[in-house]
Symmetry: C2
Subunit: 659 residues, 2 copies
């Protein structure tokens, strides 16, 4: 078993694809963690904006949270419809492509890609912030912790979406259960104490008011809080990952996610106000997240606190998992349309789109490193992409229903379509307004970076497609291929000396063509070499090669002796090739390169890499009349690698309950 097998698991055959898909129960940890994790940093982001208002600011959280909950309801209904209308990894890209055209679809893809990358960075750094809030001595290790978690999630997802989601199911449902309990207990106490519950562990005192409330501040708080909604679109982007009936399973997953998220957002906002819990400065030591203060206030710092905060920490860290499920699937669709490198559409060893996963890990790791692992600086970059996607997706659905309306005859069907259209229209308007607010509110804080990043990414997508289109135009060919009887190629063997390697090459050369030229290169190892050997060489050639060839009834290979004044094999060889091509431009020239195969790393130190260099130079500069033939020569005949016979091994026994 190789190291790769150990880390990523054995390669999976295509026939296991269906088995690897998700149930709704697995769907929540797989795709919902972005949404659920948002409940931790959305309210926190809004409260951070309200910080300058001091204690008085807490009362305003309701003005921020109600619109957010309303928006959540609109998004829920409209994505419900999207899942039904586009049950194949729909998402904003496909909805926009089908209904709005190429450019809007690419805009949606760009926005989603930026959003997914940022989600990984924000999710993990929020998780680590929760961890350092619970264990302050870890604070200096913020960045290494972030990168370590990123690596863990990446490896889990490279093993497979199902594996990853089953791994994360425990902390997910633990988180939901404990925070439902905390919110329940807290709400009960708040209500029974007349709105002024006694915290078990009092939260730190709130700072004095440094500013007066303003509409601008509330709008900024709203736009910061909107990050709580990112992740709601995740299910619609990944419907294809579900087992059949996937629309049903998708609907159930979406409903679960939205319901949990709504309860959490409402509960946190209510209790923050009741218990006088405000945001703290994340860059300071002693920082505590809202969730940590809330849990402490409601249930004290007992075991339950640590279970709840531990699971919240996991959820936050793992909220990045949603990106790892959806980003590769979305990129695959874009790559299938030739707007991304085709490698994004390739199914990897574990039946996931490994290239997308690795790319996502690298870019978000880069972001985490640049920003030092602190969420706050990333949030302004974040919401634009998400809300741009929401709006485009809603707009696409509006176009979709309008087209449906044109073809539908039945009055009842038309009625239903009109209702759907209304929902998506409301969705378009509300998300569009939210987008505009966020854009204005956060522009100076860093949202301009996202806005600036979109056009170059769009351009790259379009250039990629242009390259592929041009390539395919050159490569494509219709109808029968043109075959003709052509002369066998001119075969050249270049060598500095003669041995079994070159014998094998000569033998093979004579098998494929009667026109064989052996090129003996002199003075390769430097000026001290005796280069007066040509006569001797020719004599030896006539005895050792020409005679046996004649005896075997073969046409004798020709010997050419050339100098390599610059001690480079490929230079005189390329010249010979070019001269030969000048004589007969239609003939293929095959250059034989015999090579000792190295199967230990140290052998690479002991052999020259001349074969590699010659091959490279010939392929790079030879031109299309040149063909390179590599003849391996083994010190020890290679053993059969077991992996190549895997297809013959019987199916592993299907696990019960998986189908």
């Amino acid at each position: 078993m190789s190291l790769l097998d150990l880390i990523l698991g054995r390669p999976l055959p295509n026939r296991e694809y269906q088995k690897r898909k998700l149930t709704a129960f697995e769907g929540v940890p797989a795709m919902g963690l972005d949404g659920l994790g948002s409940s931790a940093y959305g309210p926190e982001a809004a409260l951070t904006v309200l910080m300058p208002l001091g204690a008085a600011g807490l009362a305003y959280i309701a003005y921020v949270m109600w619109p957010i909950l309303g928006l959540l309801a609109v998004l829920f209904i409209s994505y419900w419809q999207t899942i039904r209308a586009y049950p194949n990894n729909g998402g904003a890209y496909i909805v926009a492509r089908e209904n709005l055209g190429t450019n809007p679809s690419l805009l949606a893809a760009t926005a989603l890609m930026i959003d997914y990358v940022l989600n990984v960075a924000v999710g993990i750094s929020a998780g680590v912030a929760a961890l350092t809030s619970a264990i302050p001595p870890l604070h200096p290790y913020t960045l290494p912790l972030c990168l370590g978690i990123l690596l863990t999630i990446t490896l889990a997802n490279l093993r497979g979406t199902g594996e990853a989601s089953r791994l994360w199911a425990v902390p997910t449902y633990l988180f939901v259960a404990s925070f439902f309990a905390i919110i329940g207990i807290g709400a009960y106490q708040a209500v029974t104490s007349g709105g002024h519950p006694q915290p078990l562990v009092p939260p730190p005192p709130l700072p004095d008011a440094a500013a007066a409330v303003s509409l601008w501040l509330l709008l900024r708080a709203f736009s910061a809080g909107c990050t709580a909604m990112t992740g709601v679109e995740a299910v619609s982007n990944g419907v294809g990952a579900f087992k059949e009936p996937r629309v049903d399973r998708g609907h159930r997953t979406l409903a679960a996610i939205c319901a949990i998220l709504g309860v959490l957002l409402a509960g946190i906002a209510y209790l923050a106000n009741a218990y006088h819990i405000g945001a703290m400065d994340q860059t300071q030591d002693g920082y505590q997240s809202i969730l940590s203060q809330l849990a402490g206030a409601v249930v004290g710092r007992g075991i339950f606190y640590y279970v709840a905060i531990g699971s919240a920490l996991c959820i936050l860290c793992l909220s990045a998992n949603t990106s790892f499920v959806d980003f590769p699937r979305m990129c695959r669709l874009v790559a299938k349309d030739d707007f991304l490198p085709r490698a994004f559409a390739t199914v990897g060893r574990r039946l996931v789109f490994s290239v997308g996963i690795v790319y996502l890990a690298i870019t978000s790791g880069f972001l985490l490193t640049i920003f030092g692992g602190i969420t706050d600086r990333l949030i302004p970059l974040f919401a634009i992409g998400a809300f741009l996607t929401f709006t485009l997706s809603q707009l696409g659905m509006v176009a979709h229903w309008r087209r449906e309306l044109r073809t539908a005859k039945d009055a009842r069907a038309r009625h239903k379509i009109r209702a759907s259209l209304a929902v998506n229209l409301i969705g378009t308007i509300t998300t569009g307004v939210a987008l505009a607010v966020i854009l204005v509110a956060k522009f100076m804080e860093g949202a301009w970076i996202t806005v600036l990043a979109i056009p170059p990414v769009l351009l790259l997508l379009k250039l990629t497609r242009r390259y592929y289109v041009a390539l395919d135009a050159r490569l494509r060919e219709d109808g029968p291929i043109s075959l003709r009887k052509a002369d066998p190629p001119l075969v050249m063997i270049a060598t500095e000396g003669w041995n079994r390697l070159t014998d094998r090459a000569l033998q093979f050369a004579l098998q494929i063509s009667p026109d064989v030229v052996a090129v003996h290169i002199c003075a390769m190892s430097g000026p001290d070499e005796d280069d007066s050997r040509e006569a001797e060489l020719r004599k030896q050639w006539s005895e050792d090669v020409e005679a046996p060839a004649r005896r075997a009834g073969l046409r004798s290979p020709q010997l050419v002796v050339v100098d390599a004044p610059y001690r480079r094999l490929h230079a005189p060889l390329l010249r010979l090739v070019r001269e030969a091509a000048k004589d007969r431009p239609d003939r293929v020239i095959a250059v034989l390169i015999p090579e000792v195969m190295k199967d230990r790393w140290w052998q690479h130190l002991l052999h020259s890499h001349r074969a590699w260099r010659v091959r490279h130079a010939l392929l790079r500069y030879g031109g299309s009349h040149v063909v390179v033939i590599e003849i391996p020569w083994y010190l020890d005949e290679p053993k059969v690698q077991p992996e190549f016979d895997q297809a013959k091994t019987p199916d592993p026994v299907a696990q019960p309950g998986e189908d």
Copy 2:
């Protein structure tokens, strides 16, 4: 002009080799800088050992320096003889190989290699110590300065030995002139003032005595001072680098180096005592080298001081150059005997042995980094290798003369040989004794590392040779090669789809063999792919390929459709190859790999690397009946690279005075 041409200069043809060789005037900077530079750190090292004696210790420097000068005289005479006896890059390795056998010669080679690497590190760090002595604010940048100088010397030597030595000639002769002047003025003043000259800039006061003098201390000072002698062997190792008459030029170079070194050592020791100059702790700020104190005491801190110290600094930094001249030449000889990788014997683009130069730079840079660029810690490691080499070389010459004596008949010749033998015998004994003293004196300080390092290096040399011997035994072949009329190969073309690339491959396949199998691999891009296309494929094949082949009078290629359940092209291909080989083990199987050639870096991102992977897997695991044929397909036909026509460009006009 490429970047490489700019940094290293254009590639040089073999015919310029003689022109690139050295005169005696160039020989001193090329090979003498180790010896001359030693004059700076040898006395300093001895005085550092004497430090605990305080002011009283200075008087003992004479007891240390006289034996060293005597040893220098012995070495001079015996290397004079070695140069005459072995005028081809003789050196200890060849002398020992010819006269003492393989094991002693390998011991000499090992000792020399260690010595050369350490010389680079010690030389550069001594140079930087002199620099920080003159400009104390540079002290914190010791290591970066060391590595920068190493890079400069490496690049100069990669451009060519002659280029490097002409570059260093100015500081070399400036150094000699200025310190001869300083020693002359200082000696004059010391003598005229009755042995108590008045320093212009008084050296810092000497510390109080912390220990009493002992024989052990003097022996340690002697062994430390012996590092002043390293570099004397350099000329004998590199005689081949001189223009003809090389023995003459070698002798002149050796004489110049030894004379200058002798004057410097004697003068520094005399003046250090006269002016009360002692060593200072190198790791402390405010450190000043002996040379700096001496120049300040004799001529004050005027312009002359800075010229002298500047040139000394250059000399010290450049003393590493000797290693860069000799190490690659010595390694080449060892590599020609198959004890080192053969790449060490390859002449590089500028007619120097580039691999040796690069290897030397890497290992000494590694040492500099580990030791933080401070000489003192490296010196104990240093002298062992040098003196082991001296002793072996002397011993070899003794054996040489004894053999000569056996064959010489003429009485006068015998007399001369006996005289030579006597000199080398004295040399053997004195260097042997010095080696023993150094070994004992410095064993605990770090010389044990050198002693421990020798056996594994020796072992590596022997293992390398064993590999080459085994390889050659397998590859060598005497007499006529066995050629027979064999069937043309079975040609396989693997592809996922059909286009112009595969058409070219098919056309070429039919040129070299009537047995062509086209392998169509299904389900490569994952489980979603429609794999019910086989019937359609076969129909298309019969129309588009079989029919045209029949019309062209060619045997139709066969179509095989296989599944790649693990989405890896090479796995089913290797299985097919193995099955075909089972049927007819004597037949060669040629696998054609058509590939789009990428000439821009970003194309590598847009294309799959499947061709590379298939080629790799086939060569690695295919076995010796497999041959890989690469068929390049160019988006734009490649342009002829000018470098490949260099051999045709006329000779650059020979520069006057170079021959």
